[in-house]
Structures are given as structure tokens and as C-alpha cells.
Symmetry: C2
Subunit: 434 residues, 2 copies
């Protein structure tokens, strides 16, 4: 028996590219749900997405080699949905519903390819934008972020020897498992993986998902990553994102239309999906304004995903609103997903236990927590706060306010217009770490 597989060794040393994104399913499930809606209702809308690195101190264009970035982006553009993937999308049950994707949409999807990108550098950062039909550019968000984050990890680890890498991953695994142990103490606490975009790497995300599956069993509700959901027989989770109300608002011509936009998007969503998929993301232009102006039928939806308010305060306000609308919060669902880690998850869970159904979409601190794991002190693997947001729709600027002014995105003048229009009630400035 040979000790070294020589062919494997030569191959490992000779390959040209280790692709970061290898499947179009390696994205968040909500992108596919939104894509079907965009394809159906907004087929002619153009939308430009662009990368925003909120951690300015990290100069991405200095850290990540431009050619490597181009090679990864170019590779992603070569990928198509495979037959197996298409069959799974058609045959799988999502949120208890069969055939959530229409045959027409799937036929269109079978031909899907990521569109072109524009890449340049400015002040040590990459300007990475995706311009074109919304139904194409939207699909870049997750792979672009995953590529940037994993390239950054790879670059950071380039100088480490085999032993240092061994210790690094051992410690990261030990750290992850200590989190699992904390969660095991709360068997009714429902957790899901929302960490695709910010992950350290694909393989590490897969390990973390395995750890949750192994460690908390049925308390692990599933993953937002469609590929991992398929490969590991987990539920694919997620509903909708800010880009829907952002684009809908950007396309409006009058104040009346702007005021209606966040609710019109929900009505469209309800026509397409419904049931367990009726989750409101209320903070695009501030949760307080959203709740104040919301029609009564919004209270009939399954739940809310507060995404930028402090979880306890934000949750309390939604519960109060449900009660004011005569609804029983114990039948409603709150999905927390903003900058969570085990301590905030458990604290929030303990706070609301018995008063509302809850679910926790755990992101960056699940799939990219290498803080303190390198054998020698090293900050190069600390996660950064990076997003890929819609910047304009049909040439009109798109804006997100959120409940945290630090998370606002969009043309500054237009942000001011929105702030004036929707108000800033209950806004809480919080440091954005991840």
C-alpha cells in the first residue's frame, strides 16, 4: 500500500483554481423565492447591486488579489443549475408546500447564468457592481459576498504552516462546539443557519451546519443555503429581503405611492406564496413608520423578522403592535437574524419565552468566528461587515434606512428624503460589527 497517492499530490499542487462557488444553489433560499417574484412581476426592471464594505479599516483591495477575485467571479459565471438541482427544486417541499416554483419559472431558471460584473478599485476598496436586469443582478449578492469573504480568509491563511492551520481549525471547532453546548441547554430554542454570505469558507459553513445537526438535532430548523439543504436533507429557510421594498420604493413616482410601496410588495408576495412564507421584514424604512401605517391585514401574517432594531426592544414593539391589533403573539413568530451570537440568542430567547414563537437565523458568528483561534495573535480572520445592496432601480436611487442609522444605505440626498418622509421614531444607533 503506497503511503502517498502520487497522482492526487501532483493534482493538488498543480490545479489552477479552487472555485469558491461551485453551484448556483450555493446561495440563500430567499433569493430564489424573490427571484421568482421578480421574474414574474418585475421582468423588465433594471437593478444595480453594489458591494459595500462597512469595515473601512480593512482595505479589501490591498488584501485580496484582483486577478484571483476576477478568476472566482468569472468561474461563478460559468456555472449553470445542474439537472439534479433542477429536479430537486421541482420535487422538494419548501415550508410545507409542494411545487413552490412554477414550471415556467424553472424552465427559465434552467438557462440562468450570472450576468457580467464591473470591478475597479478606489481608496483601497473594491468597487464591485452588477448592472442589468434585476432578475439577473439579484443573484450575484450571495456568491459575490461569499467569494470576497473566502478569498479574504484564504489570503489571511496563506502564510500559515500546516501546524498553525491545524491549531486554527481545531480551535475554531472547539469554539463552535462550546456554542453548541450552550444551545443544548435550551432544547426548545430553534436555530437556523443564515451564514452563507459571511462565511469563512464553504467547507467551514458545511462543518458548522453538521455541528448543529449533530449537536442540537431537531432544534436546528435548517439552513438558508440551498445547496447545503439539498446535500444534507435539511429545510431550506428564508423568505424575503430588503431589496423588494427598496426597489418598489425606488420605482414610485409620488409620495402616495412611496407610502404604499412597503405594503404593496407584501400583497404581491402573498399572491405568490402565503402560508408559512408570510414573514414581514419591517425595517426597510424604519419599523415604527412601518407599523404605524400598516393595514390591518399585515397582522394576519405569520410573523416578523426584525433585522436592525435591538432584538428585545424591537420584538417588544412588534408584540405590542400585534396586541393592539387584537392578535395573540403566542400564535405569531419572531425571526431574529441581526448580528446574533449565542449570548444574544439565549438572552433574547429567555426574554420572550412563552410569549411568542421564535426562531433565530444565525449568521456571521456561526460561520465566521475565528476570533482568537490562530495559534499566534492575528486579526486577519476577524469577520468584516460587508453587504451587497441594490443601489438603483431603473436608474432611480434605492434606499434602505433600517432601525439603525449605521446600516442605512443609498444616495445621501435620497436617504435624507426618506428619513423626512418616514420619520426616525425609535431609531437606535448601534455599532455594526458583522
Amino acid at each position: 500500500m503506497t503511503k502517498t497517492d502520487i497522482a492526487r499530490r501532483v493534482y493538488d499542487n498543480a490545479w489552477k483554481l479552487d472555485p469558491i462557488v461551485r453551484s448556483l444553489l450555493d446561495t440563500d433560499f430567499y433569493k430564489l423565492l424573490m427571484l421568482q417574484m421578480i421574474w414574474k412581476l418585475y421582468p423588465d426592471v433594471d437593478a444595480t447591486f453594489s458591494l459595500i464594505n462597512r469595515t473601512k479599516a480593512v482595505r479589501l483591495a490591498d488584501e485580496i488579489d484582483e486577478q484571483e477575485l476576477r478568476d472566482q467571479l468569472d468561474y461563478a459565471r460559468t456555472i449553470r443549475f445542474t439537472k439534479k438541482e433542477m429536479i430537486w427544486l421541482a420535487g422538494n417541499t419548501f415550508y410545507g408546500k409542494k411545487q413552490i416554483f412554477s414550471p415556467e419559472f424553472l424552465a427559465w431558471l434552467a438557462e440562468f447564468q450570472l450576468p457580467e460584473y464591473q470591478l475597479s478599485r478606489k481608496d483601497g476598496q473594491y468597487e464591485l457592481t452588477f448592472a442589468g436586469r434585476w432578475s439577473h443582478t439579484t443573484m450575484w449578492e450571495i456568491p459575490a459576498l461569499a467569494i470576497i469573504n473566502e478569498l479574504r480568509s484564504r489570503t489571511a491563511m496563506r502564510g500559515m504552516g500546516p501546524f498553525a492551520l491545524d491549531v486554527l481549525y481545531a480551535r475554531a471547532k472547539a469554539k463552535m462546539w462550546s456554542k453548541v453546548e450552550q444551545l443544548r441547554a435550551h432544547p426548545d430554542l430553534r436555530i437556523s443557519d443564515f451564514g452563507t454570505r459571511r462565511r469563512h469558507s464553504f467547507l467551514w459553513q458545511r462543518w458548522c451546519v453538521e455541528a448543529l445537526k449533530e449537536g442540537i438535532g431537531s432544534s436546528f430548523s435548517g439552513t438558508s443555503n440551498v445547496l447545503l439543504a439539498m446535500d444534507t436533507d435539511l429545510e431550506a429557510l428564508g423568505t424575503n429581503a430588503h431589496e423588494l421594498p427598496m426597489v418598489a420604493a425606488a420605482l414610485t413616482k409620488t409620495d402616495a405611492e412611496l407610502a404604499e410601496a412597503p405594503y404593496k410588495v407584501l400583497q404581491d408576495w402573498n399572491r405568490l406564496y402565503g402560508g408559512n412564507l408570510l414573514i414581514v421584514l419591517p425595517d426597510s424604512f424604519g419599523t415604527a413608520a412601518f407599523l404605524k401605517n400598516a393595514p390591518d391585514w399585515v397582522a394576519d401574517w405569520t410573523g416578523f423578522r426584525p433585522d436592525s432594531a435591538p432584538p428585545i426592544e424591537g420584538g417588544e414593539k412588534i408584540i405590542a403592535w400585534w396586541k393592539a391589533k387584537g392578535r395573540d403573539p403566542r400564535e405569531k413568530l419572531l425571526i431574529f437574524s441581526d448580528g446574533l451570537d449565542v449570548d444574544t440568542i439565549i438572552k433574547t430567547y429567555e426574554h420572550f419565552k412563552g410569549r411568542v414563537r421564535m426562531s433565530f437565523g444565525w449568521g456571521t458568528n456561526l460561520t465566521n468566528d475565528f476570533v482568537g483561534c490562530a495559534p499566534l495573535p492575528f486579526r486577519g480572520l476577524d469577520p468584516i461587515s460587508i453587504v451587497c445592496k441594490v443601489r438603483d432601480a431603473n436608474g432611480r436611487p434605492a434606499v434602505k434606512l433600517s432601525d439603525n442609522p449605521k446600516k442605512a444605505t443609498g444616495d445621501p440626498a435620497e436617504v435624507q428624503r426618506y428619513l423626512k418622509f418616514f420619520g426616525t421614531e425609535d431609531f437606535v444607533e448601534q455599532t455594526v460589527r458583522v
Copy 2:
């Protein structure tokens, strides 16, 4: 490129035995130094070694399959020193000395084979004894202990799935590295690996040795394991053990001879070796008695290895004795090696810093610390306190008292005779954990 090496996979699943001990160099260096002395000065002495499991609560004969144990012991008996090993023993410099082993001894060693063993069961424990010429039976001590310990680890891990094992080793590595980090804070603290006999497994010991090499660099003085010293270009460390005075004492016929035995052994040692190898192991029959009766020349030796007294009290007494003999302790060496872990190492180091040279022989807690590492609570990998001691020499009972009554071994009546003869001054009863 195939993803799975099919031949390797089949081989991995089909092999008959995964040998624990694969080389006669996989032993402690002091066994070879002692062996040369035994071969030269005591060629006709018979000595029986036997296994003693001080952790009675662990029923080894229930945990470890007898056939597996026999297979491992039988395999070890098939091993011979290889040509490469013989050349290395002849050509390497040990403790700064060339040709420490005589050509005649090496010629004899080239033919060496581990002798027969006797294995039976009693009260859930194995009775494992090695009877015959001391020059042969002495060599079983380390492989026998390594085999028992690793078989026990393997058995304990048999029920774990791949993920559990992954977490187990990740946590053990993380735990080990956190110890390395503590030691890094004390660059003048000299550590060596004395963990062969109690190791979790050979591969794990090798990993721990690598970790120390990588993590504390030149503060890592070397390893007692001859094979690892050879393979990783480290110093092979260790001098002598209790078996020398134990056998010498057992062979005595008169009280005068018994009183002389511990010093006569040192004189023999000095004739063979000398220099840096002049390390006194003072506790065989109690350190207080040893120091009280020691001839002045003992104070000329390089250092002492207190092995059963509490390190600080034990060290202080030896320092006081050196001073009383007019020697400067700062030119002397204390080698601590009893049940050490990072906290006791650092505490002892801080206590004596600047007053004496020190070295720490780190054993069980270096190479077998899996406490709290299994993904679910599990005690099956906690180390046990197991030794392989000389029981009689030429049919006469051999005794070890040590400074801790819990570590005494030998026929009870004979232990009483020794206690009466040498006294019990300064004896401190301490729980023996490892």
C-alpha cells in the same frame, strides 16, 4: 481525479492489526541507558516486572479485550531494532556525549527481542507480568504501558462517529494549545516530553511533541521517546529510574548493604556515564533518608529529580541540602516529573526562578489530557494511574517507598521492613491522579 483511493479504502477496512508499538525505539531513553548498565553489571540477574493499575475503579480487564491485548503484545515481540535505528543510536550525540553506547552493547542490542509475557485476569484487572533476565524484562515497561493505555483509548472511542471524533481531537488540540500559550509567557522555562508510557496514543504523543516544538521552540528541551527524538531531530532525554536502586536493594543480604544500595547504584552509574547524566533520583526509599545518609560526592552530581514529594517542598529540601554541603544551587539542576500540568509547572518555576536551574518532564497531562474533550460528557478517556514495576529480583521482593505512601509498591511485609529501616520522615500522602 478519483475522489476516493479505492485500494486504500479497502486496505483500511481490511487490516488485521493496527500495531500500537512499531519500533523498539518507541520507549523512554532512560531504559536504554539503564539497559546498558544492567547488561554490563547485572547480566545474570532475574527481575520480574508487573503491571499495577492504581486506578482500581477502572476495570481494565472489562474494558480491554484480552485477545486484542495479546495481539498487541505478540506484535511487539516480533519487532527488532532496524539497521537505521542501530546506526542512529551509534552515531547520535546524547547529552553532549558521542558513542554513549559501547559497540559491544549495540551488537547485543541488534539481536534484542522482548521476552515472553504472562497474562491472566483477576477481579476485573489484568495480571500482566514479565519474568526472566532483568536485561530483557526491563524493556517491557514502556511498551506494555503504552499498549494498555492506547488500547483503552481505542476501546473508549469505538462508539464515536466521525463527527464526535473530529470534535474530540479538535478540543484536545485546542486544550493543548492553550497550555502552550501559557508556557510561551515563560520563555526561560524548560519543558520536556516524558509522556510515552501514559499517552493516549502514539500519534497523539507525536502531535503534542510537534505542538511544543512549534509553540515554545528552544524552550522545549526534548523528549524521552527515542523514536520521536530520532524522527524529529530532538534531544532524547532521561537518565535513570527507581528500578536500579530497587533491584540493588532487593539483592542485598545485610542491613549495611541495604543502606549502601542507593549510593552504590549511583557509583556504578557514574562509572558508566557521568557529566550531564549525573541526575539523582532520591525518593526510592524516601528522600529524607537518602539525603541524610548520602556521601558528600552525591552533592557533586549535576542535579536531582524529585519524583514524588510535592514539588516546592521537595525542591526546597534538596536546595537546603546542597547549601548544607557548600554547593551553590544556582549551578545545580532540579528535574520535576511527577504528575505535572501547566499550572503546577508554572507555579514551581516561579517559586524557584533564579535560585536553581530547572527542567520539567511533563508526562500524562501532556500526552493524555482528553478530560472534557468528548462532545458529550464522557469519562472513558480520563487517564488512569498505571505503572509497570519491578516486583522481585532473583526471587527476592523489590520495594519502592517514595515520598508519598500512596505510591509505595512491593510485598507489604517487605514494605514495612523498608519503612522501618529507612524511616518515614517528610512523607506526604498525596492523591495519585496520574
